[in-house]
Every structure is written in structure tokens, then in C-alpha cells.
């Protein structure tokens, strides 16, 4: 599911089945030296979350990404986001990011950190196999969450 009207309506009727929220956290950097790297990481994260969504459409909802810059990052209270999603009916709330600094919060929130892979130079079939490999990193996290009940 994605955060669209059609999918949200389905979520409201199927809360027993759609119990997981995935929130991408994107670091946006406008410095001349980092803007390219930042866009590449964002592209990777969006491709990957789209792929996860396609594979597990019926159980999880990929939320619109929460983006921040170095300055605004301190204001992003992801514990509050997590609590609000729990109240909204999601049993499992997972954050996914390629920004390493979030892993310091891994004792409070469920966070999947994956180093960004520059996809822009790859052709389609390589891209697909890279995303397949990355998905394999995510599946164990999801299945351990889901088997907790």
C-alpha cells in the first residue's frame, strides 16, 4: 500500500491484515559538495521502498518520506511519529534510511539502515538485481517482526 486515497480506504477496512508502516527518512543536503550524493541516496531509497511496497503490498504501507536537512533534523521527532502511527492502528512501525546517524536511536525505534547504492549509472537489469539483493536484507527484519505476533 502507498499513502493514496484508494489504499488508505482499503487500510481502514483491513486493519487486521495491513499492520505495518514503513517510513523512509531522507537526508537532503544542498551543499555543492553533497547535493549529488544526497540525491543519489534519495533515489535509491525511493526505488527500494517502491520495490518493498510491490512485494509486500498487502501487509505494509509505505508512508511518504520524511525529509530533513542538517539544520531541521533536530526538529524531527521520530518517536512522536512512531507513537502517532501506533495510535493510527499500525502494530509495527519501521523506519528505513541510508543516513547512518539514525542508528543511534535503534534501541528506541525499529530502524533499518542500508548504505545508499548509486543506482543512476546502472542499467535496468543490474538495478533490478541490486534491489533484489537489498530486499533480501529487509525481509528477515520484516519476518522477525511479523512472527512476534
Amino acid at each position: 500500500m502507498i499513502f493514496s486515497v484508494k489504499d488508505v480506504q482499503q487500510f481502514q477496512t483491513q486493519k487486521d491484515f495491513i499492520d505495518t508502516a514503513i517510513i523512509p527518512l531522507l537526508s537532503i543536503n544542498f551543499d555543492d559538495s553533497s547535493i549529488k550524493q544526497s540525491s543519489s541516496a534519495a533515489e535509491f531509497m525511493m526505488s527500494l521502498t517502491n520495490f518493498i511496497e510491490q512485494q509486500f503490498k498487502g501487509r505494509l504501507m509505505v508512508m511518504p518520506p520524511f525529509s530533513y536537512t542538517e539544520e531541521t533534523k533536530k526538529g524531527l521527532d521520530i518517536n512522536a511519529i512512531k507513537d502517532e502511527l501506533h495510535r493510527g492502528g499500525f502494530k509495527h512501525v519501521l523506519f528505513i534510511t541510508s543516513d547512518h546517524s539514525w542508528t543511534s536511536l535503534s534501541n528506541q525505534i525499529d530502524i533499518i539502515w542500508l548504505p545508499a547504492i548509486p543506482l543512476e549509472s546502472m542499467d535496468k537489469s543490474v538495478k533490478k538485481s541490486v534491489l533484489d539483493e537489498q530486499l533480501k536484507q529487509v525481509i528477515p527484519v520484516l519476518s522477525s517482526k511479523w512472527s512476534q505476533v
Partner: protein, 167 residues
């Protein structure tokens, strides 16, 4: 000089009718062409999509075949990648859609150790037999969809998604 001479009046009549006829035809032809145009449109590639899988390589064991096609959404064109589970059943080639009929996850072949030789949906434990029939007691409410199958130069072509015909 022949006996039946063409008079000036006759000559002008003939030429005017001829030229007038051409002018009328020149105006009417495009109109007629426009009117019957929809009937002359060729269907885009017959809706079949070429895959890179050879017919000869398909076995009894389902394999995932990826294929992509261009999807036009208003003015936005995008390349969509889709997949099918393809296997041979006797002489017939079967291509099943991997989309679970429960809530749309992607099913995998033989991925659940407890239930081998079945399609398994990791989301809510939905299971299907090899022909796509949903197993009662699991969440899915219907069998997996099927793709129309065709062949060209030894390669597999996949067509429209249709309701399962094997169950």
C-alpha cells in the same frame, strides 16, 4: 472531321462535370477517411509483450519471468516491470500472475518449507497449488490470474491478464 462533332456547349459541360467531380472528391475523401479512421487503426503490437525467455527453456518447475512494457498514464510514460510464474504443464505453457488475490502481495514458488510445491504469499500465509488454485483455509479468496501466452521466434510472449482457466 467526324460526323458527330462536339459542340462548344457539350465540351464545356463535360469539362465542368469532370473538374467539378474531382473537386468534390477532393473535399469528400478526407472526410470519409476521418469518419472511418477508428476502424482502420492497427492495435498496438496486439497487446503481447516480448520476454527474454526461450520457450525451449521452460520446464515443469515454475520460474519467474520478468518483463517490462511502457505504460502511458495521461502524458506520463513510464516503464513498468512485471513478472509471471511460467512453467510447462504437458505441452501447454502456463503463465501465472504473481499477485496474491488477497491483498496484492507478490507470491513465491516453493518458498515455504512446511508446504513444498506451492505458491506462498509471505504477507499473510496465503497458499496456492501449482495451477494457481487457492488452498482453502488460507486468506486468498480466488485462484491466481493467468497471462495469455504466445510464441514468436522461439521466445515467450505474454499477453493480457485473464481469469484462471485451469481451476
Amino acid at each position: 472531321m467526324s460526323n458527330n462533332r462536339v459542340t462548344r456547349r457539350q465540351f464545356l459541360n463535360y469539362t465542368l462535370t469532370g473538374v467539378g467531380g474531382f473537386m468534390a472528391a477532393g473535399m469528400l475523401m478526407p472526410m470519409v477517411r476521418f469518419a472511418i479512421d477508428p476502424a482502420l487503426q492497427t492495435k498496438a503490437e496486439g497487446d503481447f509483450v516480448q520476454t527474454s525467455t526461450k520457450i525451449a527453456d521452460i520446464t515443469e518447475e515454475p520460474v519467474k519471468v520478468d518483463f517490462s512494457f511502457e505504460q502511458v498514464d495521461a502524458w506520463y510514460k513510464s516503464e513498468v516491470t512485471d513478472a509471471a510464474w511460467v512453467y510447462k504443464s504437458g505441452d501447454i505453457i502456463v503463465a501465472l500472475s504473481p499477485v496474491c488475490k488477497h491483498l496484492g502481495c507478490t507470491v513465491n514458488w516453493n518458498s515455504d518449507q512446511a508446504h513444498p510445491n506451492q505458491f506462498f504469499c509471505a504477507c499473510h500465509g496465503g497458499r496456492y497449488e501449482k495451477n494457481g488454485k487457492n488452498i482453502p483455509g488460507t486468506p486468498p479468496t480466488g485462484p491466481l490470474d493467468e497471462y495469455e501466452v504466445s510464441e514468436k521466434d522461439g521466445f515467450l510472449l505474454l499477453g493480457k491478464k485473464i481469469a484462471n482457466t485451469l481451476v
